[in-house]
Symmetry: C4
Subunit: 358 residues, 4 copies
């Protein structure tokens, strides 16, 4: 096989996807400064191996939000996976099940959340986008609870949802056949009408963006733990913890939200320092190898999520591809742990890395 | 349309301009070190978005020199806009009017300042180059006052006015049809004659360069507020404030004055620190996107001016191009504000950015 | 000749080796981040020459582990040198003998250690990989002692032994004719059988990785000094010294072990600081010129080893090539010493270098 | 003309010189790390212009070693200028005379020092290489004194005199017609015979390298001030000052001596700090523009020397070329001074520059 490491799915996917779809999936917003920053941040960190440790009892298990996971690699929520493969999220779920991986299903999945749940994956969370109307939001929450999802991941960095410049330049249009499986029966709210002098951004787009009140309301209307995705600031992290949020995901949406924000990995240490050692902090954006997972864990993450690797592997070989990618990624992580003398995740401490000289 | 963001006018303009004209407009002086530095400075700054803020009452209004502006993006003074479009400054003025933008008309405009003023743009300032003879300078000042310009922008970093190496290598010569509309009736002073041993620079070129005395004289001869353009040093900024100048523009002339000076953005924080929070400080040089405007505001600017984007948009589509560019730029700024949780300009504070790791 | 400096063998070797073999030898593990880092680290260091010193009594002699060496450049242990030249390690040994160089023979040499020893090289050490079974390890140790090797170099950073991605992509397979000359009579241990849920890394691969106990056992079963190769951490270095190890080699296996670890040269100063001035510390990884040797010595190494240069020179011209390369390398070192005013190795002090500005 | 700035002679010269000669002149030693570093150092420094200063009485005069110079740009000693132009050093001297420039004639000039002196250049120094035999050295010194040279520049960083790798690879050989005009009547000393075990560097090459004793001897045998060229260390600078040397030149021989040493410009500040404000310190290596001269002066140099620019201009247009290049360079310097508000050299102070962000 041509696939020697998890990242190989990235290059290979370009041959399995129409150029338009590839641009949509691979691209980042704006000038892709954040997309590049995500990778550069990982490349600046270097691993300091420890010699002669006995790691033969080693494993990667952890407990997160009271749930026990086999390993700290989760499948990030990704919209419209039917773009990459007809079975889309169904295959991702099947791969998750086969590899003991926790899946996060997107509000904008091409298949309904109930169908995804039926693929049998035990560990699964539901990623929630606030809907223009609270009823719709509540409907999603209740369906997720009913289908057995164990946590809600509320994504807050995506007030703007538009294909990237790269995707637009490549001529990407969402195919008619790809639909938001969870939302097809939701009523479409009337479009916002702007008065003269009003801003398309402030009075238009942002009218539907959730606020602290909405988050509060949500927590009062679900029994599931609520995790917030898209945090980059220490003060936001602290405020979310204080507000009763169960955990956070340091993320810049894989460079797809506001271009020009820092790499997640660069934002991580300050966030971890703010919330303390015991609060659940996950990270995504830029993870392409097991060594990246290791670095994120050293710098303060309890676990990571993989976005593009997942959809690239899906495009290449469906459920098998995703499962294989996850197996590779996990073994790459284990190898880093083994060579750094870390038998378990808590042994991955700050002294396991250093920073590259400039 | 191919124009998805304001910066797209930059690439597109190359197809709308003769190569010689493009070289003249796009180029910077010398080896273009400062031209590059301007962009690199913006790229080193990263935005830290804030979550969950309610910005639905947001707007971009500000008061500058007692004048209220709709937004903090001004049209920089650009000589000879007829190079880019036959209607040149007339079209820029029309676009300014249509988009509530403050225009700064150049001494070296291809159309007379009175014609530009007649396009109806309410907010307008006049950029003044000191003339070899005080009478000529005074004539310009009085015409600007009479035509309704509300401030004088005195540009001080352009003692040398010569097409860049890039322009000269491209074979650029100013077409005979492009004339300095404001100066055609001015008498040409006799050329400076150098004695043996004298320097073409010190005793030649610099004989006409304005000094503190000239600036003083100017302020005594106008009722308009005087703004100085081309400041890069904190001590100069402080001295200008002390001398009664109404505000300053941190600028390196878009990399067209002395090559090798720092990026304006890098010079900004020290200047702001020197003059204090309440003194009007604007910035230009290198602004290509709304996120750049946001970054400049975080680092201490009250507003910014756009030079090349303006003339590129003018070249592509005249008044419509400039208006469209300004609309895009403003929305890009608003989006940064919204995602950074800033409903108004004063909420754009230092903690909204961080610096990229080297 | 086309060979003007030692590093010229690097480029030339590409013409003398099949592409597959070249990929195997030249490549580094993973994305080759460490391979690149090794070179970048040397390039960041600058030499500060001293003027007017009399160095006419200069020489490069040193005493290491009680043995006197003519110069501080050793031949690193390299597996399977028959890939580069039919006579492989035999020719390297002959070159070592001719140039007063200390040779380190690999456990995985293509020729038996006894044959190598018979080439007459006086200074020679044996590089030991722990074998799956202690009997095999002991057999190697005793044969090395009997053959006159004067030290054991235990390599600890290569728990994973697999051709690099570059080699695999180039289609490299070990030719059937190239065999581990020292191990052909060793029994192959039964493959590790994993139980369900066990990790191929932790419970598989790492089961055979040596631990502190194994190192202890080794030191009790040999009368040779034991040197550990593959150290990158100051705490490991200190622990090894405390455990009775005779010396260490700061090395990342030439970027062939875990990808993403720091350059050896960057790791060196902290290691030296930890173990004190008198403890034997060697370095390899990235040495391509005499100036690199000089820099390593300034930053704390007593001597260096050359890996790829050796096998490249071997590929180009066998024993003659290796001898010529060593002669060039040594003269390059002497020239640095002479121009830096260092007549002997102890005069190579910290003030002989500075670090390049970023 | 195609020549718009002094540096343009660099690119143009490639068309006027045989490829071999160009490689010899343009190249640096080794991997050209120092050659590159020289330019990078200048590019890291940024000029901070001052506004509104009256510089109409400005000039560039200075007093150096009791001699008054019109400007702080000297012609560096360059061997074998007949490679670039048949009249070689004669034309350089004529250009020096025409532009009030101080010339430094090389020991290895293709024309005898007396012929060069006869071209009429008033300000001239003689660059001395110590010869294998003291008689030869003394002969050179006495001829230089007799011919009216006003200082001796002793170059100490060139113990190794060999065409660079670049030159050798290009196939450069010194043409038979190009001879060391000053040395043709000198006896050639017998070649050094090495004993077995002796080093070609320490006991060979370095036997003829001057030491502190030789420098002492020289100062006792000349009435000219002695300047040392090739200093990069503060401690050497201080020792030279203490030994009675009249001034020093911070130089790395334009990247042609030991490769891997720092840029002269990076070494300058520490050297200046060590010797104090009043001691004559010059700089060369990497100067390509008037702004470089300005930067060197800010960072501590009293004057600079130009090497390659001189020989490139010579290749392009003989005496006229060199004179034109010097005129451009000087005007470029004056322009920097004027825009930085410095009317005279002493006004060029540390606050006139800043360092580029990394
Ligand atoms: C094609 C695509 C679709 C995505 N859709 C969603 C989504 O629906 N909800 C969400 O919270 N994040 C979404 N993301 C962001 C991912 O959850 C994740 O933050 C990001 O992909 C991580 O960066 P990586 O791709 O470098 O691993 C999407 C990302 C991609 C690439
Ligand atoms: C073609 C061109 C002409 C210019 N003419 C003037 C001018 O007449 N007066 C002036 O003060 N600045 C002039 N400038 C400088 C601009 O006002 C402004 O400082 C600069 O363009 C800002 O940098 P930017 O182009 O990167 O936005 C000119 C700039 C350009 C590109
Ligand atoms: C082809 C090859 C084979 C190697 N085999 C061994 C080996 O058998 N044992 C060992 O300890 N190191 C081995 N190494 C690592 C070298 O000993 C040394 O650490 C490395 O080559 C130094 O880096 P350099 O190649 O940049 O000089 C090998 C390296 C190469 C390139
Ligand atoms: C072709 C060439 C020949 C040189 N010959 C001499 C020489 O004979 N004596 C000497 O002291 N320096 C010599 N140098 C060094 C110059 O004096 C000077 O230090 C160097 O060229 C400055 O760097 P630049 O070329 O970047 O200006 C030579 C340099 C070049 C390029």
């Amino acid at each position: 096989s041509d696939i020697l490491c998890a990242q190989d799915y990235e290059a290979l996917a370009a041959h399995f996807l129409p150029a338009t779809h590839h641009a949509y999936i691979a691209g980042g917003s704006g000038f892709e400064a954040t997309l590049r920053a995500n990778r550069e941040a990982f490349e600046r960190v270097q691993i300091l191996p420890r010699l002669l440790r006995d790691v033969t009892t080693g494993h990667t298990r952890l407990t997160l939000l009271g749930q026990s996971l086999h390993h700290p690699i989760l499948l990030a929520p990704l919209a419209f996976q039917a773009l990459a493969h007809p079975r889309g999220e169904l295959d991702s779920a099947r791969a998750a099940e086969a590899t003991d991986t926790c899946l996060v299903a997107s509000t904008l999945s091409s298949w309904p959340l109930e169908d995804i749940a039926r693929e049998g994956c035990v560990e699964k969370w539901f990623q929630l986008y606030f809907q223009p109307m609270r009823d719709s939001t509540l409907d999603l929450v209740q369906r997720a609870e009913a289908a057995g999802y164990r946590a809600l991941v509320v994504t807050l960095d995506a007030a703007v949802q538009r294909p990237s410049l790269r995707a637009q330049r490549a001529g990407f249009r969402m195919p008619d056949t790809v639909r938001p499986g969870n939302l097809i029966h939701h009523a479409t709210p009337p479009p916002v009408e702007l008065e003269r002098g009003q801003s398309r951004i402030f009075q238009g787009l942002m009218r539907e963006a959730p606020t602290w009140d909405d988050l509060d309301w949500l927590m009062r209307h679900t029994r599931l733990p609520v995790i917030v995705k898209g945090v980059l600031r220490a003060d936001d992290a602290l405020a979310l913890k204080a507000a009763g949020v169960a955990g956070i995901i340091v993320s810049n949406h894989g460079g797809r939200a506001l271009d020009g924000v820092p790499a997640s990995l660069d934002a991580l240490p300050a966030v971890r320092a703010a919330v303390g050692a015991d609060y659940p902090v996950l990270l995504d954006s830029g993870v392409r190898a097991g060594s990246d997972v290791f670095k994120a864990l050293v710098l303060g993450a309890d676990a990571v999520l993989v976005g593009r690797l997942q959809v690239f592997a899906l495009a290449v070989a469906g459920a098998l591809g995703v499962a294989h990618m996850l197996k590779l990624l996990r073994e790459e992580l284990e190898l880093c742990m083994a060579l750094a003398g870390c038998a378990t995740l808590p042994e991955i401490t700050a002294d396991c890395v250093t920073h590259r000289h400039a």
